[in-house]
């Protein structure tokens, strides 16, 4: 019993971060028709800045690590959003709905940013101090308190995004643009502004998931690439452009990783992940909940 609860907790914790990351990817694809390989670099920048700033702020300001973590996260997210705005304005804006062109541009950005981060931050792996020491025991299974907090924050942000897309004017504009950009414009949706905001929200999710990952993993400039591959697998499973699909896909990937990783190893978990995708696409060519076609 304890084992199953432990696996479920691991799934929940890893899945919540995967979901946030994949939500950003799928939102950008849904709105702009762009397969954004630079998404992993926005994630990496969020994680790297947090890992650098937390010890620095903790040493200079004093107080608890948690406060330093919150401050660092805010600064990191602002920097990532500035970078994302520049990437959109000078790059992606020219390749809207051009899947291959935007893909190559994003690959160029991936290499450029990865090199830049390696140059600035160095290749040394970084570890963030524990933001909430202690652990909780649930039905015999143990989970670190900081993992539980990260999971709760990720779930809260996910719910806020869901509500925003479902019930606000901006959310309706984003969904209308994803469904049919031309018709949305005829209905008074400001197309270019919606695309920019959609891209910024997607990049915000990458930055937040990077910040939340920082205390839980060893951070290097290439950390974004692992998440990028998992993020793509997640949105293929869920269906490109589908928000509920990204949530289902994220938790499915985390479950597979936890179970196969426990009984076999990490490599087999990754191979299993790709096999699941291949089989799924045979029966559901647009993923589980995919409906957007470009």
């Amino acid at each position: 019993m304890a084992l199953f609860v432990q696996l479920a907790l691991n799934t929940l914790q890893a899945g919540s971060v995967y979901v946030l990351f994949a939500l950003g990817l799928t939102l950008i694809f849904g709105v702009m028709g762009v397969v954004n390989f630079a998404h992993g670099q926005f994630f990496a920048l969020g994680a790297l800045l947090t890992s650098v700033l937390v010890p620095a702020l903790h040493d200079s300001l004093g107080g608890s690590v948690a406060i330093a973590f919150v401050l660092s996260s805010v600064i990191s997210i602002i920097v990532v959003l500035a970078l994302a705005a520049a990437a959109y304005q000078f790059g992606f804006r020219r390749y809207l709905r051009d899947m291959v062109g935007s893909f190559i541009l994003s690959v160029g950005m991936l290499l450029f940013f990865e090199g830049l981060f390696l140059w600035i931050f160095g290749g040394v792996p970084r570890v963030v101090p524990n933001i909430a020491p202690g652990e909780l025991r649930i039905l015999g299974a143990a989970i670190e308190l900081q993992r539980l907090i990260v999971c709760a924050v990720a779930v809260a942000i996910g719910i806020m995004l869901y509500l925003m897309l479902g019930y606000t004017r901006f959310g309706r504009a984003v969904r209308a643009t994803a469904e049919d950009a031309g018709a949305a414009t005829l209905q008074g949706v400001r197309h270019k502004r919606t695309l920019l905001y959609g891209f910024m929200v997607g990049s915000f999710l990458a930055a937040v998931s990077g910040c939340l990952t920082a205390p839980l993993a060893v951070i290097t400039p290439s950390v974004g690439n692992d998440y990028l591959i998992k993020g793509f697998v997640t949105i293929i499973i869920g269906g490109l452009g589908s928000i509920p699909g990204a949530i289902i896909g994220g938790f499915a990937i985390a479950l597979l990783e936890s179970v196969v990783g426990y009984y076999l190893d990490g490599t087999m978990a990754t191979i299993g992940m790709f096999c699941v995708v291949a089989v799924l696409l045979l029966f559901r060519p647009r993923g589980m909940l995919g409906h957007v076609q470009h």
Binding site: F29, V35, F37, F90, G91, R94, Y95, M99, V100, G101, F103, I104, L105, V107, G108, M109, L110, L111, F112, F113, E114, G115, L116, L118, W119, I229, F232, V233, I236, L240, T267, M268, T270, I271, F274, C275, V277, A278, L281, L282, P285, R286, G287, G290, Q293, H294
Partner: protein, 324 residues
């Protein structure tokens, strides 16, 4: 039906013979290696463009390329010395893998096909790390051609790559090439004419897979050492970059892109993190600055030279909207 242009044939024969002659007498190992790497990358890029003609992005070419390289390594390390036979078998092996993959996955299209190819490349790479027979994570070493062929190998490799690119051009200009364009424009219309769009896509994919397989085999002979890390998703990503940076409009575009980016990557080799910055920067600048690729710059310069300072006359193809 495509009629053979004598000038075109003569130009290519001269270029091919010139390249073979240069590589046969060249004393600089580095230059010959650079030419061979450029030629291999040119085949990868031309193969990527060939599949783009049916409107799909072939991210599985990394898996096919690696599979053929491993077949070559297995053959050579088990004592098979006949280079043409090994390259042919590896190319056919790549074609068979392409056939199996394409038969299953070409039913989906667009971003799904692209991303499943990306996943396939990664899963095949991970599979090598688990197989001890092919050296696991360490890979395989000692992939050498017979000593008697050693001096001629660069010339043979470049000649094979050259012929493969010419083969792509000939296939594109054939009636099958017209079918590929038709499938790209609207596969439903093609179906109504009694032609199976899936079959056209599959044949196109397998042709590209055979050529990419041959390039993979040449890669193994050229580098002498292979490991799973050599065949990551970056292979198709770079191939796409060569095709885009060079220009997709003509088969020469990917070749120019491959040569340009291969030389750039060698120039910045060893500069650590800056290598990524410069390589990524070149791709970004090329994509933002020259949307039609380098081939459009060449065309622009040629037009300007012909007109001799008069106002540049830009021809526009009304069907595709591309510069003509």
């Amino acid at each position: 039906m495509y009629s053979i242009d004598r000038k075109f044939v003569a130009l290519n024969v001269v270029l091919l013979v010139g390249a073979i002659a240069f590589l046969s007498v060249s004393e600089s190992t580095y230059v010959t290696q650079l030419i061979v790497w450029s030629a291999i990358n040119a085949v990868l890029a031309a193969g990527m463009r060939f599949v783009l003609l049916i409107g799909e992005t072939n991210m599985a070419c990394g898996a096919i390329y690696g599979f053929a390289a491993y077949l070559t390594a297995i053959g050579v390390t088990n004592g098979f010395d006949a280079v043409p036979l090994v390259v042919t078998i590896a190319a056919l092996g790549g074609g068979v893998l392409g056939l199996l993959f394409g038969w299953v996955t070409l039913r989906v299209k667009g971003p799904y096909f692209m991303l499943i190819g990306f996943a396939f490349t990664e899963v095949i790479r991970l599979a090598y790390t688990r197989i001890d027979y092919v050296g696991g994570n360490s890979g395989m070493v000692g992939i050498y051609a017979p000593i008697s062929l050693d001096r001629w190998m660069p010339a043979i490799c470049v000649a094979v790559c050259y012929l493969l690119v010419i083969g792509f051009f000939a296939a594109e200009k054939s009636s099958f090439g017209s079918l590929m364009h038709a499938v790209r424009n609207n596969d439903k219309v093609v179906e109504t004419l009694g032609v199976s769009a899936l079959r056209v896509k599959l044949v196109c994919f397998v042709i590209a897979a055979v050529a990419v397989g041959a390039a993979g085999s040449i890669h193994a002979y050229s580098y002498h050492v292979i490991s799973p890390g050599d065949f990551s998703f970056l292979i198709p990503v770079y191939a796409l970059a060569y095709a885009k940076v060079g220009g997709e409009r003509h088969v020469v575009g990917p070749v120019i892109g491959a040569i340009f980016l291969t030389v750039i990557s060698q120039l910045v080799q060893g500069s650590g993190a800056l290598q990524y910055v410069l390589f990524g920067g070149v791709i970004i600048v090329s994509m933002i600055g020259v949307r039609g690729g380098l081939i459009d710059i060449a065309k622009w310069v040629r037009c300007r030279y012909r007109i001799g300072g008069a106002r540049l006359r830009v021809l526009k193809d009304p069907a595709s909207g591309e510069l003509g």
